[in-house]
Assembly symmetry: D2
Homo-oligomer: 384 residues x 4
């Protein structure tokens, strides 16, 4: 597969450089993400380039391994709009992964096609406001009551990425038998997008919304997998989703570094180029180290998943280390650019804000550290 991946990486890199980056200053990229129109324009370009959801199985080749995905996704992430263009962004990419593993044939037939082609977008309705489910999924408050032939769901969700404009939803709700996943189309009167939140990050279409569910009826045939297995399925989605975040954002951080490195070689201050000031040069050196470490940890964890491992602890380790390393990179780039760094005249400002959010999305560092520590405890108890 190395040949295929290399070629894909090269094509992806060129596509991002030539077709995505020029659209980064487009006014349609607003505070709540790129507009539907801009997304469509980006995806049309990706279609022409044969780069829509390139990690999935194609007619002439199987799906990419996680390790190969890592290379391609990093190339795509070199622009924060790249993953959206290629249809490999959250939450769709993770939702496709989940559906492939858990949905039945009928559900797959109905949902995976439009998702994979980038024609439709989807949402994952899990996190909740008001002391509900967040890092601790056991706090789930949205309830699904059994009714004739199905379920009736009521609750409120928030930080729902991409709700505006999404066609399908995967909904997590509690039942007597435990957390359960349900499928629904979004355009129903019982699903209300209350508001779109203003957030630090702004790369994903539709932004992050508050969504309430009012007596939403779901037929038994629209249960995803088995009743009561929701938390287990969430785990299925989790480790790879964390890792694809790491991949995409490593690309973005690398971009910020390249912008800062070029600036440091051009900008003069106090009689020499910025990069010749150790205060700046050392930051760039640390960037390279952090970027390489991020890449190595991601690839290490990808190999484990490719070998069939669950990668639970490993993906926690990668998530903490990569998100924090990339954030340091972005932070240093802002600092190197000085006044320019706090403006949106370069992409660095957006990357910085994305990466601040990454330290929280998919589990804040603290939750991962806690679960790694628990694993250490179990290992010591087992004589490790």
């Amino acid at each position: 597969m190395a040949g295929i991946a290399d070629e894909l990486v090269e094509r992806t890199a060129r596509f991002v450089r030539e077709q995505v980056i020029p659209l980064e200053q487009d006014a349609r990229w607003g505070a709540h993400g790129p507009s539907s129109e801009l997304v469509e324009e980006l995806r049309a370009a990706a279609r022409r380039a044969g780069l829509v959801a390139p990690h999935l199985a194609q007619e002439d080749r199987p799906a990419l391994s996680m390790r190969d995905m890592a290379e391609v996704f990093r190339a795509a992430g070199y622009s924060p709009l790249g993953p959206v263009a290629l249809n490999i962004a959250a939450p769709d990419e993770g939702n496709m992964h989940l559906l492939e593993r858990v949905a039945n044939d009928e559900q797959k037939a109905q949902l995976l096609g439009p998702l994979a082609s980038g024609e439709a977008r989807s949402v994952f309705l899990m996190t909740e406001p008001d002391n509900g489910a967040g890092s601790d999924p056991s706090l789930l408050r949205t309830r699904a009551e059994p009714v004739q032939g199905g379920w009736r769901i009521t609750g409120r969700k928030w930080l729902i990425t991409g709700a505006v404009g999404a066609r399908f939803a995967i909904i997590m709700a509690t039942t007597e038998a435990g957390a359960t996943m349900f499928l629904s189309k979004m355009e129903r009167p019982e699903i209300v997008i209350e508001r779109v939140l203003d957030t630090l990050d702004s790369a994903l279409p539709g932004g992050h919304a508050v969504v309430s569910l009012h007596d939403l009826y779901i037929a038994d045939s629209d249960v995803l997998g088995e009743v009561g297995q929701g938390l287990r399925y969430a785990q299925v989605r989790l480790a790879p989703a964390r890792l694809t975040h790491c991949m995409r954002w490593t690309g973005a951080a690398r971009r910020a570094h390249d912008v800062a490195a070029r600036y440091a070689c051009e900008r003069m201050a106090f009689g020499k180029q910025l990069i010749d000031h150790e205060g700046v040069g050392f930051m760039l050196a640390d960037n390279l180290i952090d970027l390489k470490s991020a890449e190595l940890l991601t690839d290490w964890c990808a190999d484990i998943l490719d070998a069939g491992g669950r990668g639970s602890q490993e993906s926690s380790m990668a998530k903490v280390a990569v998100s924090e390393a990339l954030y340091r990179v972005a932070d240093r780039c802002v600092q190197i650019l000085g006044g320019l760094g706090v403006t949106r005249d370069t992409i660095v400002e957006r990357v910085f804000r994305e990466l601040r959010a990454f330290r929280i999305y998919d589990g804040p560092s603290e939750v991962h550290r806690w679960s790694i520590a628990n694993k250490i405890k179990r290992d010591v108890a087992a004589g490790g």
Copy 2:
């Protein structure tokens, strides 16, 4: 003065709590700062409360010492809109300070009244794009050519805080005799606000703009101070301006901490309150330490300025340490709030963005460290 300061601090704190904070979610506070209308509303409230520019000499008392200002400004900064309301925000506060020390009587009579009352706003046209003046003011590219009875200025400035809506400008430009400061009203066809930059921070009215000067005629009577003394005057403005930044933003960081501390006492996760997780509690503990250190360093430097010192090294030390400490506080608060922290549903998101910018405004940390190191070198050479 302690009695006066204590009373002022208490009144300021109450004013911010009761009249400013309720306006923080007002839609007129946009990406480029609060609108003129919102500013006017805030200032009208401050006028009613007798809290406009309270640090200046009043009929019944002299101006506040820097040390007393520190207390009042911290109280005002508890909302990012507080300093604007009280008319003690950058750049006006620093401009008033400069004019009081350098302007002649006629200039003072004309400018200081409307500035002090909060009726007019002013700008400081110093920093430049395209490898011009920034942290290194010797790179100044805007030129003032002598003409009959005055000067003709051409150049481009950027990151000019508050340009939109400002009435007066202090312009720094080079002459044969060196950098020089000039005064002008803003409403002139030769002064063009090219665009307002999108920036991380958003607390100051008018945002930060690119401003170009096209053959702008300035009469000799509108030179501020002496020709060729511009860099020296900039120093006059600098140390206190740095320190008032420290004061205001310490208030903002304290606010973020209070929000996060309350949240940590309410939010449950994994069977206990967030604050009972050491991962969170330790962050709050570090916040207290950083906030106290920031306060002590600011007060120490204020005492030096009050005693007549130039405080050049000391204000550099305070600026680096305080901006970095407060940033850590804000960053931890975002992290503690988790998903909520990346949204604008609390003020923490704005404070975080302000404080990221503070590590760059008024000289990035690196420039200050460099100048502190130079001082150490001189001290060692002097046998220190």
Copy 3:
């Protein structure tokens, strides 16, 4: 008192420079601290200089305030041997403080004289091995059983500073009524110094030992204070003891900085003085900031104690922040000195090791952060 303190500080600084520093390379300063002989030599010099226990009340003046002590102790700490010379080192300094507040007149008459004059040394037998008392004093395992006319104590203590050569001991042991403090002379067959530990730090006479108590009889008249009040008395000792640690070690870190700054101005590398490399200059700048912050936090807390406050939270804040700041200073100094820094050819190597230990002695940072967080929680609950 300012005049007295200033003069004392100046005299102390001169004494350390002229009489203590020259003895730092003396071979009698070994891995377990300076030998008794060297201590005696240092103290004799201090006696001649009128600088033994200068913080205590003297014939012509009262005891120093904590704030004045801060200045004097910092000056003394400029050499790691300075506090030993002046008889203001741990544990004697803290023991004197405790005895003054808790001992009865008879006990004071017997113990305080020889301690204050530096003729005798004392130990504080509190911490224990094998899951006994440490940061968590409630784990105390040494037991005192009531017997006719007194108590019989059995247990094992460790990390007992200064045991070898000490004349008196304050012993903490549990009784039915709770932890209790007992007084004893050290030279008794029931008290066995099992071994002296090899430790990172090496500034205190006698090092740190393991001491076992075998059926040690203590008469009722040798109970210190009241039975069952031991933990409360430990608190009396704690806050000031933490703070005097901060004072002394700030002097040591300042010394390391001075050594490193001079070296950086002399040593050439890659075509210029080390200090002109920003990588080095910035470290020195950060040193100055850390040293000043340490000083300000210590003084702030000293003022609170002088005003009669318990300073429990404040001394925890100071202890964490000061120990970590000073450690960073020492670590940077080692780094600046390069190969020289890892050798004992300068005092920096010893200071580094002392300061690593300081992050643990008198409560590791983690315990203090935990107690600060608890205080934040109580404050929020109280509506703070």
Copy 4:
């Protein structure tokens, strides 16, 4: 080779566990390293286990690749005495590497045998005191003057690892043609070991000494390689030597982590196991991340060297990142152990001191960051 390496790793791990670790508390391991006798005892054990210099070519297999060495050296480094036992410690391991690449057949015949068998030790006389060669090798002050049939060398070297007890020396000195390497036996009256330095680290036999050369005559046949090529040869030695440091010390840091993790699972404080305190558990989690990152960076760089790359920038990146990551691990372990951590009752105290020195040995972090930054500058200039 995977099979061979796996078996070697397993055997090495067992050997260290069963034969080396029990000797760690041996009194013959002093401040200047293990005594000759202890070294001989360790090596005899390694000989019996067939584990002397296992990375070199053996009768039945070629030399290990760097990547395989990484695994074996990490297993050996699990005790700080392991590399000495296996004869893969600095400076011998690097000297052997250098001799293999640069020495002529006669020199090899004479030197490599006794070195490889662990019968003799060698030194590398490069670094100098008094503003001589250190991180900046161009400052070399030791001079070699051409004389009849050879050279006469005079100068002073310091931080010469293993001088006491070494049989051979590689000496770097300047000639008209540039820096040159010379070979000599150590036992000559013109070579004087002035003193052994007291240093933070203590794992290497012979410690670190000051060595002076007085008119030392070296025959032309004892020039190593070509005259004037000394700096180039030093580079040959450098990248792999840095990397083997990384390998060995990763083992040591892993050991410290294992000790701390076990302690954290046994020690109770404040009502629960230490590891259940997040303040401790998070440190252990960060250890795992740092250890894994260190391993991945080392292996990445090893692969580059195995593929024939010079690995100059990559080994600088690895050296900085690995030394700092491992140091953080050791520092956290000391902190987790609390009072126990500052004593030599566990190996952690020694590992901490070794790792502090590692941040300086083979080029302090600052020198590596500087050279990485220079590479970034060249890459940007090349259009990268």
